[in-house]
Amino acid sequence: MSTLHLVNKSPFETGTLSSCLKHCKAGDAVLLIEDGVYGAIDGSSISGEVKATVGDVALFVLDGDLSARGIDAGKMVNGTKSIGYDGFVDLVAEHDRTMSWL
């Protein structure tokens, strides 16, 4: 039993990503979409929190949202996987529930 967590807001705008990370359990996945993709950039004020969770929790970003915002995939926290909407659908199917952090 695992959860796919969706975060769509920049972690520099709201505490949502931080709250999400604090509620993840081993085996869960976090998918960053829309403005949420900024949370995957390495070397930011939230990268420490992100890295502490990655490993137990799989971290994904939606590639379309990343490139729309001009973020190079190479700038992301190690272990982040960039996926398309097809991958998004697969994640939803794979995990028992999807929780949107709105």
Binding site: L6, N8, E34, Y85, D86, F88, V89, T98, S100, L102
Partner: protein
Amino acid sequence: MKIGVVVNEGPYTHQAADSAYRFVKAALEKGHEVSRVFFYHDGVNVATRLTIPPQDERHIQKNWSALATEHGVDLVVCIAAAQRRGILDANEANRQGKDANNLAEGFRISGLGQLIEMGVQTDRLVVFGD
């Protein structure tokens, strides 16, 4: 799988309606069943047929209407949220004594029960919002 989707924000101001649309398309392409999409909060504003977006921009309402007409996706607009925000079909406009209606093709207005029913009947439920 049977997947249900909720859209909580209106067109253009938030990305939610776009993200949800692309998600639904991808799910259909993968052979999943997206039986229903429920529009709540400002999401009901996706259903007005009166939008005139710039020519070189995507037409969010038409994108969604096409999902209904081409793929049989049930697009449900919450009546309570719709009434608050002035989204009416011909029946509602008549009933409420309003001089116009604006519901786009492929959408239908119904109760919140449809959202709960969707949660009960689907294998997965994904919410797009703010």
